[in-house]
């Protein structure tokens, strides 16, 4: 899209949105947020970047094909479930690691890994669709 304002603002805006999406993903455990919302914000970042800078730059910025990202996300989510099997629990039972330096930090877990998987699936699938639609014949 040939708009000077958009082209100037978007690179910074998209970067901030991407950063914010990760922040939203990671804080989702205790505050409003989470993988799904984070993923939507991330996808919006890529969508707006595509509109402003064109498809080719967007693909370059993403490095890997978006659908691969979705696949990796699905794989991570499944792995986080299989981890519980290894510990003898039912599939997808949360596994927690309380670090010795700060036992009150109840954060590192297979659950967070699962959430990251959700994030990647949403980002990958939706930006994949947006890219495909933007593609010119």
């Amino acid at each position: 899209m040939n708009s000077l304002i958009l082209r100037t603002a978007v690179p910074a805006l998209a970067g901030l949105m991407l950063l914010f999406s990760i922040y939203v993903l990671l804080r989702g455990h205790n505050e409003p947020g989470g993988g799904f919302i984070g993923g939507l914000i991330g996808a919006s970042a890529f969508a707006i970047y595509t509109i402003a800078e064109g498809l080719a730059s967007a693909r370059r910025a993403l490095i890997v094909p978006p659908i691969t990202i979705a696949g990796v996300g699905l794989f991570l989510a499944a792995i986080s479930g299989i981890v519980s099997l290894l510990f003898g629990d039912a599939f997808l039972t949360g596994q927690w690691w309380f670090p010795a330096f700060n036992p009150d930090l109840k954060y590192f877990s297979s659950v967070v890994l699962f959430d990251i998987g959700v994030y990647l699936v949403v980002v990958g699938a939706i930006s994949g669709i947006a890219f495909a639609l933007e593609e010119r014949e």
Binding site: P32, G34, I37, L74, A77, G94, F114, A130, E137
Partner: protein
Amino acid sequence: MLAATLAPFVLAVFAPFVRRRVGNSAGWALAVLPAALFIYFAQFLGPVASGETFIFSTEWVPALGIALSFYVDGLSLLFALLITFIGTFIVLYAGAYLKGHADLGRFFMFVLMFMGSMLGLVLADNVVTLFVFWELTSITSFLLIGFNHDKARSRRAALQALVVTGGGGLALLAGLLLMAQVGGSMELSTLLADGDVLREHPWYLAILVLVLAGAFTKSAQVPFHFWLPNAMEAPTPVSAYLHSATMVKAGVYLLARMNPGLGGTDIWQIILMSFGGATLLTGAILALRNTDLKLMLAQTTVASLGLLVFLIGIGEPLAIQAAMAYLFAHSMFKGALFMVAGSIDHGTGTRDVRRLSGLGRVMPFTAAAAGLAALSMSGLPPFFGFIAKEWVYKGTLDGSLPLLLTAVAITGNALMFAVAFLVGFKPFFGKPGDTPHKPHEGSVGLWIGALTLAALSLIFGLFSGLAETFFIGPAAVAVAGVPMVVDLYLWGGFKAPVVASIITVALGAFFFWQGARLSAFLARVVDALWGPDKGYDQFMDGLIGLARAVTNLFQTGHLRRYMLFTFLTLAAVLVLPQVMLGNGFVVKAPPIDLLVWAIGLLAFVGALAIPFTRSRLAAIMLMGVLGLSVAFVFLLFGAPDLAFTQLMVETLSVVILALVLARLPVFGTDWRGYPRFVRDALIAGAIGIAMATLLVSITSVPLDLTLSEFFSARSYTEAYGRNIVNVILVDFRALDTLGEIAVVAVAGVAVLCLLAFRHIDHDSEDKPEASS
């Protein structure tokens, strides 16, 4: 017992490897299993003859009362022994008959799978187990009929058999489940022990019709008899095994098995006797009309199955004995004759009875087998077929309309007499005929089975006590469900059955003498008539036509048509229940809050403006306004997560919709005419109003807080998270989420694929761009 039933399946998996390793003598190696199974089952002969029964049960799905349970009594043991004994020779025969065939290994695999299925079927005690094995026999039969899958006729015959028997199988499942409901047990041995419960229940008629639908399709009773002759497209070992000796008797087995529970009523007798009798005559007449050895035998098999159903329908003790004796005799002589027909085909290259003669000298073993089996089939003493036929007449004379029943049986038997001589004697006598290649005797495997079975027909005739004690007696008792005296003998004095036999032979000899002329005459008459085989094609064509019509109605390829149907359905689903059942619509006092009113007004104006804009882009933006207002509402009522998500979904929807619509030719202005505009507005309005009233009535019911309290109490203590929504998503109900993200990923892939095809549709010369 479970191991015995499953063993053929296990061996089936390895059969192709055995074939590859051992080569053409694989038949001899693989025949060891059925032979061993035969010996295993033979051990039950003594105890079962003295009246014992055995139940073997392994849990399968205990919660549903489904068990892998097997029941051994006279009836199931008779079948199990026939299946394994004839199966042994069939495996040998197939090894010789299909020697050098590229797919012989696959053939052995199918045959062994069938053997296991058939064993499971006749031994099953649990109704679900019975059904599973019943369907497995249909499926393996499909695979075997279609073995020569490069021939269109084979494929049609295979599919036809599957459609007919599989359809009957579904009816049977319904019937069996109804029976289990009524009788309060999944086990046949329990259900059939108290048959009056079934017979006096209001569902009896439904159960009967459903079970009979299963049995009649499987055992090729009129009007479902057409699939069996078509199934002769299968290689001859299959015809000999499945379509004469074993599988087609599954329906007869089922009727015999159900006799103590469902039998004995007037309706049972009337249906079985009329359908069985009609099948007997139809099959016998069609047998004489044909000139292909296999088709003649196939039609007499149809006739014999009719006779068996007819006898079970009569239901008197002598008729039951006759059914079991005839079944026993038939399995031996018909199995032998089919193998003979295959050997003749193999040795001469033709199965046309008009071209075959004088083979006796070059094919002595085959000729001997054919002669013995044909004598048993035609019911001449001292063969077991004679005893069986005598008992058939004893049975019909014992029935309610003795003269009519006996006349039907005599006519059918006389026709089969003629066919037996045409198949068993005509090809072997006279001057050598004109055959495609020079006749020669096959290898041992090709005649050993036929000769053994034919010889047994003679041995059991001479020593009828053996058959009576070990096979016919226990089986007849099992079918009748009550003890009875069984006393088989060859000669019982010059009485009515003997007279009937003499009439049969005289009539049969006449039919044989006039065979060629009768056959030509019948061919003219039968071919002119409409038959169920043509009906099957018309039915299938009609079905496909209907499917095409329905598809064309709904799948127009126009997105707006799909959406019209989708939203019409949605409107019906939302409106009809509320109109018919009423709703708990309670109008509450509106909240006095300026902010809520302001947001409501925004949403309302946004929604109302959508139909009045002719610009698509404006419509999309207005929908975005609506979505934003909803997000505000979520925010106001303390659901920041929802508001957040709603906001993002709205943003992306607007972006993606704009991207999609921008590429459509109709982008720009709305071109709908006034009538369509009104119609669409009405549908949209109906959905909106119905949804609103539904929501209001739902919120009139007090909210159940059990789940909310559960999650808020445990969210931090068990999952260490304060964001309850997120904890539910990623921890408590993570499996749901996993499913959802899988759907999202698959939807993404699907959209990419669809969009990749877009290029091909527009210009077939353009290759789709590589999306990377």
